[in-house]
């Protein structure tokens, strides 16, 4: 409760709470003025009279009941002292839900930690062959990775398919772990201005298509595009086979991250692409990433 933008609201809550508690106490005290009459004596009236002759008998609550009410006030004050409740005052015990969450997380980690630790000691390929680790990996994947890569890991436009043998940064188990731990940032600069006119861009696109032997490639445009492709070679290599060290995609196969039509390729060339795989190392911890990496690797490599 310490994130009020304005101290007024903090005070507002403090004042309301304190007045509320005080109000209850005053009300209780004023009521306990009326004492229960002795056992057989006459019952007094509270002095209230309605409709000329209706008087209210003084039959207050039993004393123990009154004390219970006082106790609730004491409880309330103690609570407000120990726990957050008075505006931005954090409470003597320093309790907050984020801490609670962290404790629970720590408890879960101490419970399952040893299991993950056991796998972390093992070689990734050995982990991949372990059915229990596979099941854990699948659950982790469905929780953390499926939003982008799909429940079946086959990706989506802009999100790589993880079940094939085509890798932007390399498909060795350790490389995959690297990718998940630290994330990746794939940037294709906008090449529109460097290549020249729209015509030039179209020609290069058709040349790129021809690299993978696509039937959609226009042979004439492709010939014109070839000379301009030199601008792309720095990353994608002379034959367009890409460079995993830089994360530059292989253009000579039939796998396309954004789509393999001439229009899509032209758009890619003209505007560039910026692709981010977030780093999961800090968030999940290395031992979980280890199991997850083994699972991802096994998706494109039969382990049985």
């Amino acid at each position: 409760m310490s994130d009020f933008t304005n101290n007024f609201w903090n005070l507002y809550i403090v004042v309301l709470t304190v007045l509320g508690v005080l109000g209850c106490a005053v009300l209780l005290y004023s009521q306990s003025k009326y004492k229960v009459a002795k056992h057989n004596g006459p019952v007094g009236t509270t002095g209230h009279v309605w409709d000329e002759d209706l008087t209210e008998l003084n039959t207050p609550m039993p004393r123990w009941w009154m004390w219970m009410f006082y106790l609730t006030i004491v409880f309330g004050i103690a609570y407000l002292f120990l726990y957050p409740g008075l505006g931005s005052y954090a409470g003597k015990l320093g309790w907050n839900s984020a801490k609670e969450y962290k404790t629970e997380l720590a408890k879960a980690d101490s419970e399952y930690g040893p299991l993950f630790e056991k796998y972390r000691q093992q070689d990734l390929k050995a982990v991949a062959a372990d059915p229990q680790a596979h099941a854990i990996g699948e659950r982790l994947f469905l929780t953390y990775c499926a939003q982008c890569h799909g429940s079946d890991a086959r990706g989506n436009k802009g999100f790589p398919n993880l079940t094939d043998k085509d890798w932007l940064h390399g498909g060795a188990p350790e490389t995959i772990k690297q990718t998940i731990m630290n994330g990746r940032h794939g940037v294709m600069p906008a090449m529109g201005a460097a290549l020249g006119s729209d015509k030039d861009i179209e020609n290069v696109a058709h040349y790129v298509l021809s690299l993978s032997g696509s039937a959609a490639s226009d042979p004439i445009k492709s010939v014109f595009g070839k000379s301009k492709f030199s601008a792309c070679m720095a990353c994608h290599g002379a034959g367009g086979v890409g460079n995993q060290a830089m994360g530059a995609p292989n253009l000579a196969d039939k796998t396309w991250l954004y789509g393999g039509s001439a229009e899509t390729i032209m758009e890619t060339i003209r505007k560039g692409r910026d692709n981010t795989m977030p780093a999961f190392g800090d968030f999940l911890g290395e031992s979980k990433v280890h199991v997850l990496s083994a699972y991802v690797w096994s998706l494109s490599n039969e382990t049985k």
Partner: protein, 463 residues
């Protein structure tokens, strides 16, 4: 404004201690039978074993309720509602026919009070001895008797609390823990809480619970009518009451009631049934037993106090007429309602498939085109095997020509396992219209075709 000082009636009356005399007879035996049946069930059930686990266990941590062969999951919560509805109808029906018989014979408050009273009688002796003991000044004998009584009560109460918790934590584990007192904090809390509740309710509060606290007692009157069976005193026959005359066995004043006050002494709520129907009366029929044995002694016919109805008492109906009046619309409607719910629940339980599945389409993609123009959609099947055995299931899909699974179509789940299974469905080019197509996904156990669930889903064909 110058009214005279008003006459004041005190609204508050301090509790009068009640020392019920032990009643013997038909209804007392019936009540003891109820005590035995309910308590054998309550104390015994958690010790039974079924399928290698506790037969009746409400496992709150894994959220599974085991009832012999039946395993209920949170999704089956509706059965709890059904159970409550059945209880409600049953209570309506029983109350309309026979008034507060539940209160008098089977209510836990009555049952535990009966047990506690039995202990009290064993230790402090019969009614007169208990009253004498209460009047006595402090003495070693009084102290030791009272201590013994409270220790015995406490033991029963603790055992009850322990058993209660045994329905939620495996009782054998709990039993082992109790030797070292190694209960967890919540186990401690509930064992002690329930023990305290038992001790307080059955030892101290007793009839005050029925008179002032019980909500059921508050709305019973809406189910009563003039044909409801109640415990009644036949005033026409009994009055005028008086001391017994040796020759006739009747009172000297001519009525059948000899004013022995036995019916008052046995009453657990401390009322005099001869004053007519009172809201405090829990229909336990202890007074019937008591008066019947008095009538036997003075050689008069039984039934001066008996189960009868308001109407019968006023018009002098025969027992047969009373029974005929029991078949009145109110009772028939309650019976019909009860039967309806019972049949519905029974059918639904019998037809229940212990297998559940949700089909969740991946939100990330609308559907993708693969080699040869076929369209693929990705789904996640959330499968719950709610049986306790492992099963192998086949996944199939239908709804579009040529629709088939592109991933493994078999999956194995261990007993009570829940698992998310990603699948891919593939439909050939042109199999469905652009946009969403209704399909069904079906899951069938290979070893038991009755274990089948079908779920509808949507297959999207992109433009």
């Amino acid at each position: 404004m110058n009214a005279p000082e008003p006459q004041v009636i005190r609204m508050y009356e301090a509790r009068q201690e009640i020392y019920p005399r032990e009643a013997k007879g038909r209804y007392a035996s019936l009540r003891w039978l109820c005590v035995w049946l309910t308590q054998l069930a309550f104390y015994g059930l958690p010790w039974l074993t079924w399928n290698g686990r506790q037969a009746v266990l409400f496992d709150l941590t894994t959220r599974k309720f085991y009832l012999f062969g039946l395993v209920l999951w949170p999704q089956d919560f509706i059965y709890l509602a059904a159970l409550l509805i059945i209880c409600a109808w049953l209570l309506f029906l029983v109350t309309a026919v026979a008034g507060r018989v539940w209160c008098g014979f089977a209510c836990p408050q009555t049952v535990y009070t009966e047990i506690f009273l039995w202990i009290e009688r064993k230790i402090e002796g019969p009614r007169s001895a208990r009253i004498a003991l209460a009047k006595q000044g402090p003495s070693l004998q009084k102290f030791s008797k009272k201590t013994a009584k409270h220790l015995a009560w406490g033991a029963v109460a603790l055992w009850t609390g322990f058993t209660f918790v045994g329905y939620f934590t495996p009782i054998k584990v709990l039993g082992a823990e109790s030797f070292t007192l190694a209960f967890g904090p919540w186990e401690w809390f509930w064992v002690l809480f329930y023990a305290l509740a038992t001790y307080g309710n059955a030892g101290w509060l007793r009839e005050q619970v029925c008179k002032y606290m019980c909500p059921y007692a508050r709305f019973q009157s809406s189910m009563f009518d003039r044909d409801t069976l109640i415990v009644t005193y036949d005033a026409k026959r009994g009055e005028p009451r008086g001391k017994v005359a040796k020759d006739t066995g009747k009172s000297v004043n001519g009525g059948s009631c000899i004013d022995c006050t036995m019916c008052v002494q046995v009453c657990p709520t401390g009322i005099d049934i001869r004053n007519g129907l009172q809201y405090e009366c829990i229909g336990c029929a202890a007074c019937v037993d008591a008066c019947n044995s008095v009538m036997d002694k003075v050689e008069q016919p039984r039934g001066l106090i008996r189960y009868s109805t308001d109407r019968a008492l006023a018009t002098g109906m025969s027992a047969q007429d009373i029974r005929r009046r029991a078949m009145r619309p109110r009772v028939l409607i309650y019976t019909a309602g009860l039967l309806l719910v019972v049949i519905a629940v029974g059918t639904s339980l019998a037809l229940r498939t212990p297998l559940k599945m949700d089909v969740i389409r991946d939100r990330g993609s609308m559907g993708r085109e693969v080699d040869g123009g076929a369209i693929e959609n990705v789904y996640r099947l959330q499968i719950m095997n709610t049986t306790e055995q492992s099963h192998r299931y086949r996944i199939t899909a239908a709804g579009m020509p040529g629709l088939a699974l592109a991933t493994k179509d078999e999956v194995t789940l261990a007993g009570t396992e829940t698992r998310a299974v990603p699948i891919r469905l593939r439909a050939p080019h042109g199999a469905g219209a652009t946009g969403s197509n209704k399909i069904t996904v079906q899951l069938t156990a290979l070893d038991d075709p009755a274990l089948t669930v079908k779920e509808t889903a949507v297959f999207i064909v992109p433009r």
